[in-house]
């Protein structure tokens, strides 16, 4: 092979490899994006059925019920509330009345089945998703956001 041909082959090889990698990355990226929805949006059936998404808001006071390993609670944005079911151990900072983000899917019975529950490791800290949900709901219904 001539030096020019060789250089061309190397360049083509790199471009090909990067191209394949880019296709792989973008495909994985597209199918693994997790969107965020507020309880009001979920109640209005805006969330996609059969796809994983994040639900954020406050854990409603008095809604947490434990039955062995299964936990049930309600996530609210002070306008609408969505029931959530989760199996396993909740994070240390999961509290009633505090911000929470759950990741999972809506089941056939309208209950959000969470595969992951995130509560952040600071008492005063509100997950951005949760506070966004509260603000959006408050703006829509013209009531103040409780702090």
């Amino acid at each position: 092979m001539t030096p020019r041909g060789k250089r061309f082959a190397i360049a083509a090889g790199i471009v090909g490899a990067v191209g394949i990698a880019a296709a792989l990355v973008l495909n994985a990226f597209n199918s693994n994006l997790v969107f965020f929805y507020s309880p009001s949006q979920v109640a209005a059936k805006e969330a996609p059925a059969g796809r994983t998404f994040r639900l954020g808001g406050l854990v409603e006071q008095g809604s947490v019920k434990r039955d062995g390993v299964t936990v049930r609670f309600t996530v609210t944005d002070m306008v609408r509330a969505i029931p959530v079911r989760y199996e396993g151990i909740l994070p240390d900072l999961f509290r009633e009345g505090k911000g929470v983000v759950a990741q999972g899917q809506v089941g056939g019975d309208g209950v959000f089945v969470a595969r992951e529950v995130l509560a952040k490791h600071d008492e005063n800290y509100m997950p951005p998703e949760a506070s966004a949900a509260l603000k959006r709901a408050a703006a829509a219904s013209q009531v103040g956001v409780p702090r």
């Binding site: 060789k6 190397i10 490899a17 994006l33 062995g68 390993v69 909740l90 490791h121 951005p128």
Partner: protein, 664 residues
Amino acid sequence: MIPELGQLALLLALAAALIQGTLPLVGAARNRADWMALARPAAQVQCVLVAFAFACLASAFVRNDFSVLYVAEHSNTSLPLAYRIAGVWGGHEGSLLLWLLMLCGWMLALARFSRSIPAPVVARILAVMGLIGAGFLLFMLVTSNPFERIVPVPPNGNDLNPLLQDPGMVVHPPMLYMGYVGFSVAFAFAIAALLGGDLSAQWARWMRPWTTAAWCFLTLGIMLGSLWAYYVLGWGGWWFWDPVENASFMPWLAGTALIHSLAVTDKRGAFKSWTVLLAIVAFSLSLLGTFIVRSGVLSSVHAFATDPKRGVFILSFLVIVIGGSLLLYAWRAPKVGLGARFEMVSRESMLLVNNVLFVVAMLSVLLGTLYPLLLDALDLGKISVGPPYFDTVFLPLMAPVLFLLGIGPLARWKQAELPALAKRLRWAAGVAVLATLAAALVAGRITLGAAFGVLMSVWIVASIATDLAHRLRPIGPAPVSLWTRIQTLPRPLLGMMLAHVGVAVFAFGVSMVRTYEVERDVKMQTGDTTEVAGYVFTLRGLRNVKGPNYDAVQAVVDVRRNGTPVALMHPEKRTYRVQGTALTDAAIDRDIARDLYVSLGEPVEGGAWIVRIYVKPFVDWIWGGCLLMALGGALAASDRRYRAKQASEATSPITATLATGASA
């Protein structure tokens, strides 16, 4: 009084940094020796001042001086002394000061160990680092002053975040920062090369040990962070693809590409402008990592309160550093040149593939980490990118890396013959296949992932063994003992081999954990028994324990296997008194072949607890592999060849022949 002195020291340090960042640079351009000579003393003055400021802040923590806002926010009288000192870097302001202190440490080392480097080069390098220091000092003084006072003085402090009250957390940030900041040396070398318009092989040789040392610290820092997440967060995972982890992983990926590309520049004079670009990218990602983690942009364990003024400053700083250096690169890189030619199959082409794969991996992490931030900033909706994305992208990208790792180090520079390579490696390949089959037989079941992991780890180790045996074969008629022959091998070569064995160990650990780990959440009462993966866990009882600043419920869990006692474990659920926060302290029984992991979830009705039990085979190999990589890097960086002056190139004949035949 002392905090004011600290603040004054920071102001003076800014002045020193500005002198260090300007005059030597002008001096190097105009060839004025007296101005260039300012770089070293200015760096030393800046170091002393920053160290003094750091000591002032530390003393405020030790003396419980709650009139300082930062101390009041991150300490408490009941906090043990070691954690009060670690509290210095427990928040945003103090982390910046620690970062600066590390920068000064690197500058001091550079000023001390750069006698063999020409004066204009040293002047430029120290000047660039001085400018970085000035940027950080300005940021601290304008937006994040750690010495700010608070009136009225609170009677006691707010306490350190309980998650950070852990020995791992005392060491993790300094290590990580040593790595981040260490890349500033490589960055400064690159910028100096662009300014001077010359990047010879000699240049790469100066740059190599510094870059490798920084990479070692970063590797250790990430390893400690992962280890900490494993036992403190109570989830038992070792990597979550959390944005904060990604922020430290991106510079690591770029840095790994950089140390490999530097090898080519050092040995063959090729990949020059690419090396410069990688150095710029690695440091830019380090800056990005420092800022996105500590600025509160990311919602995570590490994030602190957000302040818009800080965000604007950070953004401008990043734009100036990254944009400026890339502009300089575009303008000057053609002068640096491309370097020597090489064939399609050669050590160079293998390292090129390594670089392409690592950079693509880095970019895919960057995309997954920044895209959600970007969408949010533009108000286009909130999304998150979870572990499935990174898993699907990473495994296919790293698979060829592992495979080629077995071939690359044996390929010759410039031109290698594929048939000869295949012939040399046929034993390694055979051993790897046999080992995989044996593993499948022993384990009883095997997945594609586990099979691949075993295959690749054994392949890498066997290939290194082949290489080592070849290099250690007796040459010449005179009998030389094996130990003498090992000693004549160049250190960078041994370091590389050790680090690559680390990769194999790591890959093995990851594939084993992913395939064979067993996780179970169960409800247990005193006396209840659960069997997980052949181990019988019995909850013997629960008791209340008092720590220095927390109360805890401690469980006593007895573990048996086939009736014989294996371990007695004491997981705790702690409540820290000051902030009232709960913390899960997992109990781990470590063994080379498996970890038993028990953590307490929450109490449920009837005195029972939800208990999380994991059996994780070979999980410690993950961190062991990282440790080997870092050790290998340290061994390579410690080679005397890098420190020796050009004049002392002549070495003993035997070393010289071995070194040319065995160049790392």
